[in-house]
Symmetry: C2
DNA sequence: ACTCTTCTTGAAACCGGTTTCAAGAAGTAT
DNA sequence: ATACTTCTTGAAACCGGTTTCAAGAAGAGT
């Protein structure tokens, strides 16, 4: 307390110069071991902590990264995906000694304004952006600003951009081929054209059907926007086509689908099998518990931070990298696999 | 791009001194209107943005506030309360031109470490702390560090501390007296002793019963920890006491309670009425939709930011303030009120 | 023993602003 | 016209670090 500790004060106490203290702090070479020790002793005795602001003004590095979540309020509120991701990134930031700042925006315009503010502030060492919309208007802005950034989820325009994403194509494939493997043929899907993840999962669904020689029936394809309500509406529509099974593109939509099925008096999995995607907490809490494709959101978040940290350190000379996290099918009750044993 | 714009450069272009440019930037008085205009013209023409880091080193103010969420992983993941709160605070921060940094920690020790790091960094103008545990070990640390802070939720030790909270006592009261008003007498509750909100809601429950002259039956009192699972377990226990109605301390726990009731073959509200607290999205999505007490989380978040901003500006001379946000009963189907019309 | 490197170290410049201080200009009261 | 305020303004100090530069000390090579 009392007298503020500055590097100058430490220097005096250790009877060396500011420069030497700085060298010790930053673990630079060329300091005699004894001197280094002496300084370290003073530092630990006094509990000195260098002033980050000053440090960063001088070194042009803030150790602060921003997380920009740009999604409809609907999604941020209702889908546990964002909390889980935020949490993972927050953890990753802490692990990498980075401070995480959070920006949430609901409309594309708002997002763009937020971003302008962020870039103008010049406070951040890098950004993690969640790719909500396909056409990511942010990208040109980011590239112009020359700030390191990593996307979470493949952006529409992925050329030369670092991103981390789940293996959504395989997710759709695994879910669907599990259903074909169980003998189902009339398999519908609730997809989403809101982002590339939706496209990819749909592509996986299609390839699984093709592999089995099952013709793709457009009538069994419905779209949602990742909300529970949209899953409900889409399922109501699909019910009329009488599918034997359905692959729903997210757990949250699957919850809506389950409700539609319940209302229609259809039992899951006896009358219709359901497989979804994400494996967020609601999946296991659902009735019946959902067979779903697990994407390791925590891994995704951490890798994004690590990649960003690396770009920040190395100066992003390296070519853009696309990190795809594997997914895994988690079999529970909604697919009917349990019955078959 | 190219040549970095500094205040010095602007000063040269406008043919004045750095000091004058600074005065214009900060809207200080004592600058001739013509000069002010001339400088502003240069600023807008060049698109100059002052360097925040330098600014804050000199002015000892960062415009960055931290949000410290200290809760079990269970809660952060599963209860939409935290996402909603985070979102509200993020919005409030943006409105007040503050940058929000996020810190999530799961154990008290971890929280303490996080806090130490934050305080040592000296980067933040103030903090918003979610009061998870009752005994808030953080408080002394915070007071010692002499940093402005505001709690969300009344901390166990609230003496002289600024906090914003929902009117939980009234919440418990409204929920319970709604049930007594519907004629129920054997009213159980699933409370929580995890935080003061739980205590307060329980107190409200008790006062509503007392008001009606209904003796409080310890056997009708069960505890949970805000998770869905704990609500499920607590409800299973309560079922044995055959209550006619139950006030559940959070929507998330109510979801678990509903499951327990469904499994026990009890219909809601015909066999047992349920009222809960929070009015988060799952409440309306539940089956049946929950009658619940709405707490305006977005208001709470915004007020916390505003209070903090005010303390930061004014230097926190003013005495500690306790802001209590009103709550409101939202009647849906789980309480059986619909039947009675 | 003498020259050439390589280590250590401190002084001083620097990062880009804000704030203090003093001085000249302008305005007001006598 | 004179003395006193009040406005404007720029020079310079300052915030607390990092980094450059130069110089003295120590080590290596012949």
């Amino acid at each position: 307390m009392s007298n503020k500790l500055t590097i100058q004060r430490i220097a005096e106490l250790a009877d060396v110069s500011k420069a030497t203290v700085s060298r010790v702090l930053n673990e630079y070479p060329h300091v005699r071991p004894e001197v280094r020790e002496k300084v370290q002793k003073v530092i630990s005795e006094t509990g000195y902590q260098p002033n980050n602001i000053a440090r960063l003004l001088a070194s042009d590095r803030s150790s602060i990264i921003g997380l920009v979540i740009s999604a409809s309020a609907q999604m941020v509120f209702n889908d546990p995906y964002f909390p889980a991701l935020t949490e993972a990134i927050s953890r990753g930031a802490a692990d990498n000694n980075l401070i995480l700042s959070l920006f949430v925006s609901y409309t594309e315009k708002q997002g763009r304004d937020t971003l302008s503010g962020i870039l103008a502030a010049g406070l951040f060492d890098g950004l993690i952006i969640t790719a909500d919309h396909k056409g990511d208007a942010f990208i040109s802005q980011l590239q112009e600003a020359d700030i390191p950034f990593v996307f979470i989820g493949r952006p529409g325009e992925a050329e030369g951009i670092n991103y981390v994403d789940a293996d959504n194509v395989n997710g759709g494939y695994l879910a669907t081929s599990h259903l074909t493997g169980l003998g189902y043929c009339r398999i519908g899907t609730i997809a989403s054209d809101q982002n590339t993840a939706g496209d990819d999962r749909l592509a996986g669904y299609q390839s699984a059907l093709e592999e089995r020689g099952i013709a793709i029936d457009e009538a069994l394809l419905a779209f949602g926007d990742y909300t529970l309500e949209s899953g409900y509406v889409a399922m109501k529509e699909l019910i009329r086509r009488k599918p034997e099974a359905v692959f729903v593109g997210s757990d949250t939509m699957a919850l809506g689908a389950l409700r539609a099925l319940r209302e229609a008096g259809l039992r899951v999995p006896q009358d219709i099998a359901v497989v979804s995607h994400d494996d967020l907490p609601p999946a296991i809490q659902a009735d019946p518990p959902l067979t779903t494709v697990r994407q390791q959101i925590s891994t995704t978040g951490q890798m994004a931070v690590e990649k960003l940290a690396q770009i920040i350190m190395t100066g992003k000379a390296s070519p853009a990298q696309h990190i795809i996290n594997p997914v895994k099918l988690i079999v529970r009750e909604s697919c009917g696999a349990a019955q078959l044993n």
